[in-house]
């Protein structure tokens, strides 16, 4: 066994352990998503379609709110595109590692690219100094895709067994989850201002015009207000494009890959996986 393969096996073991923590978190939040979707009127097949096709937790939670608020589809699609645009950063960071893979494989990898998959896989690649397809599938599918979808199905199915969800406080799961997720994203003053202005504008415009317009207005104007904070006063703790900026989208409480201090720089050379 070569030294490289020993390193690969060790790193994969670490990846699997970290993936178990992410999977446990995904099970919890996928279940909550399923409950919230059911409460918003999604059928099981609609909730599952979101989890399989969109496969983006924050955007899916947001979509539940959009639909419940009666937001028109173009608005839902616009906000989804804005909310998920951060994946450009992850994809760009992974591109140098995966550039010699077949295009079909990169396309599949792209669909499965989430905050958690990025944080786990980039840390694994950095540990072994090259890309590892099997490691990517562990990070994306085992830790994320399968638990998220199974839990969605359980949440949206079992939610129907609850006679009076409001009596159990389940009607506050959605706004509380949105607020809690937001806390995880506030890593500097710009984010804090964006969130405060987004919420304030959202409420005022909702009262004046309607909730659908209010949510869009908050989502579009909040970031503009955040950008007014000068960079030197932003106190950003998760700089753009680093693993830390990905981890802030991971569910708070999920064990993160402990590599926030490393930059997702391109490898000096991309090696082929000997397993292939």
């Amino acid at each position: 066994m070569t030294e490289l393969s020993v390193d690969l096996a060790t790193s994969r073991r670490r990846l699997v352990i970290e993936s178990l923590g992410i999977a446990a978190s995904g099970l919890g939040f996928g279940f909550v998503y399923g409950l919230a979707a059911r409460d918003a009127g999604f059928s099981p097949i609609e909730a599952m379609a979101m989890s399989v096709l969109v496969f983006a937790g924050a955007a899916q939670f947001a979509a539940v709110g959009y639909v419940a608020a009666g937001l028109a589809w173009p608005g839902v699609i616009l906000l989804t595109a804005l909310l998920n645009a951060r994946h450009v950063l992850y994809s760009a960071a992974l591109a140098p590692w995966l550039r010699d893979r077949p295009i079909w494989k990169r396309a599949v990898m792209a669909h499965l690219l989430t905050d958690e998959a990025f944080a786990l896989s980039i840390a694994h690649f950095q540990r072994i100094g090259r890309a590892d397809d099997r490691g990517y599938w562990i990070a994306a599918i085992v830790s994320d895709f399968i638990p998220w979808n199974l839990a969605t199905l359980a949440g949206v199915s079992l939610g129907g067994q609850v006679a009076d969800p409001a009596a159990l406080g389940l009607d506050v799961v959605f706004p509380a989850a949105m607020a809690g997720l937001c806390v995880g994203l506030v890593t500097g003053r710009r984010e804090l201002v964006a969130a405060a202005v987004g919420a304030t504008v959202g409420v005022f415009v909702s009262l004046a015009v309607g909730t659908g317009v209010g949510i869009i207005a908050g989502g579009v104007l909040g970031p503009l207000a955040g950008l007014l904070v000068p960079a030197e006063r932003a106190h950003e703790q998760a700089p753009l494009g680093t693993p830390a900026s990905a981890e802030r989208y991971a569910m708070p409480g999920a064990p993160h890959a402990p590599f926030a201090d490393r930059d997702p720089v391109a490898p000096s050379r991309a090696l082929k996986d000997p397993d292939e």
């Binding site: 096709l53 909702s206 989502g219």
Partner: protein, 109 residues
């Protein structure tokens, strides 16, 4: 069983896939201006905060939006505080939901 939202899911996937795939499939296409990237990083907190606030502060009993004050506010505040303190959303969610359930059981809300 309703299937209307499957098309919406497909459209959401269609606008999500390019941001995940373009840099992987078309090297060099990720060079968005830094200001644009900074803006996009702030969309998440703004949208999530707007959704949470609108959901608990605005109700539409007769189709007309009106300001609402209720136990839901407290549940969200408790969730925020616990999540910020313990860095664990599940704890915060459990506490927020339990608070509302107990308050309603006791007839306080």
């Amino acid at each position: 069983m309703s299937t209307d939202l499957i098309l919406l899911a497909a459209l959401m996937a269609a606008v999500t896939f390019p941001s995940r795939a373009l840099p992987l499939l078309v090297p060099g296409i990720d060079r968005l201006p830094r200001r644009a990237l900074e803006y996009l990083q702030l969309v998440g907190p703004a949208v999530l905060a707007a959704l949470a606030a609108v959901n608990v502060m605005v109700v539409t009993p007769d189709g007309q939006p009106i300001f609402h004050i209720g136990i839901e506010w407290l549940a969200v505040i408790v969730t925020i505080a616990l999540t910020a303190w313990r860095r664990n959303l599940l704890y915060g969610l459990a506490a927020g939901v339990a608070l509302v359930a107990v308050a309603r059981y006791l007839g306080w809300a």
